[in-house]
């Protein structure tokens, strides 16, 4: 197995773990974390393909990862703020019990 293949497999595994968490957990915060994990899996792909790709001097993978991390940070901040606002309304972070559309 080549290093690149190992990285890609690891990234696929991370993505699957994140996906599993996102669709199975009830706690909204952990669902958000699952989404972060999937983003991280993508980042790992970018870095691995930059490292073992044909043009490492172009820095594309690194740039994409940096921007992705920034977007993920913004997403986490807004997401957690949304969860707080929802908690204030529903008094729970259990997604199965946030089942009303009426405010």
């Amino acid at each position: 197995m080549t290093p690149l293949e190992g990285c890609l497999l690891l990234s696929a595994l991370l993505f699957a773990i994140g996906l599993a968490g996102t669709v199975t957990r009830r706690n909204a915060i952990l669902v958000l974390i699952g989404i972060e994990l999937m983003l991280n899996a993508a980042n790992l792909n970018f870095i691995a393909l930059w490292r073992y790709g044909p043009h490492p001097e172009a820095l594309t993978g690194i740039m994409f990862t940096i921007f992705s991390i920034a977007v993920a940070a913004a997403e986490a901040a807004v997401g957690l703020a949304l969860i707080l606002a929802a908690y204030r309304h529903f008094r729970t972070t259990n997604l199965d019990r946030m089942n009303r559309l009426k405010g």
Partner: protein, 173 residues
Amino acid sequence: MTATFLILAAITVAGTAAAMGLRNAVHCVLALTAGFAGLAGLYLYLGAQFVGFTQIMVYVGAVAILAVFAVMMTHNPGEPEEIFSRFWVWGAVIAGAVFLTLARAIRLAFAPADATPATPAPSTTVQQIGDALMHRYVLPLEIIGLLLTAALIGAVIIAMDPKDDPTLEEDAE
């Protein structure tokens, strides 16, 4: 496939799996930081020093702390202790299927013969990254800056308790 890679991969997978599987939400977040640290180690192993340190700074220093705060602010002791959704079997099956598909695709993409020779890690200095950010990627950088500012203000406004702000009193009810 060196021992370093395997150790780091093991830390990452163990940390993230624990983060998705543990019962206590704070434990989940702490396990997640271990996973993120392992991932940062992988970035360092792959020669992306700047990204690795940024990963630690952003995920361990900021996102994990935010998540921990959110867990503690939304803690409801009276809630029934059910951590997984009713349809968790389906979720696990879907995630497993996704992994198997991806893994199969990756295995097929690499013919056993074409083992790429291990290239030396490309030397990237922070200077190069800075130059790239300021020349080729200056527009994305500006947009990211705008996005972060908007996210900051938006997060503050969303998380603000309407009861604390008299000007939002009408919206509260």
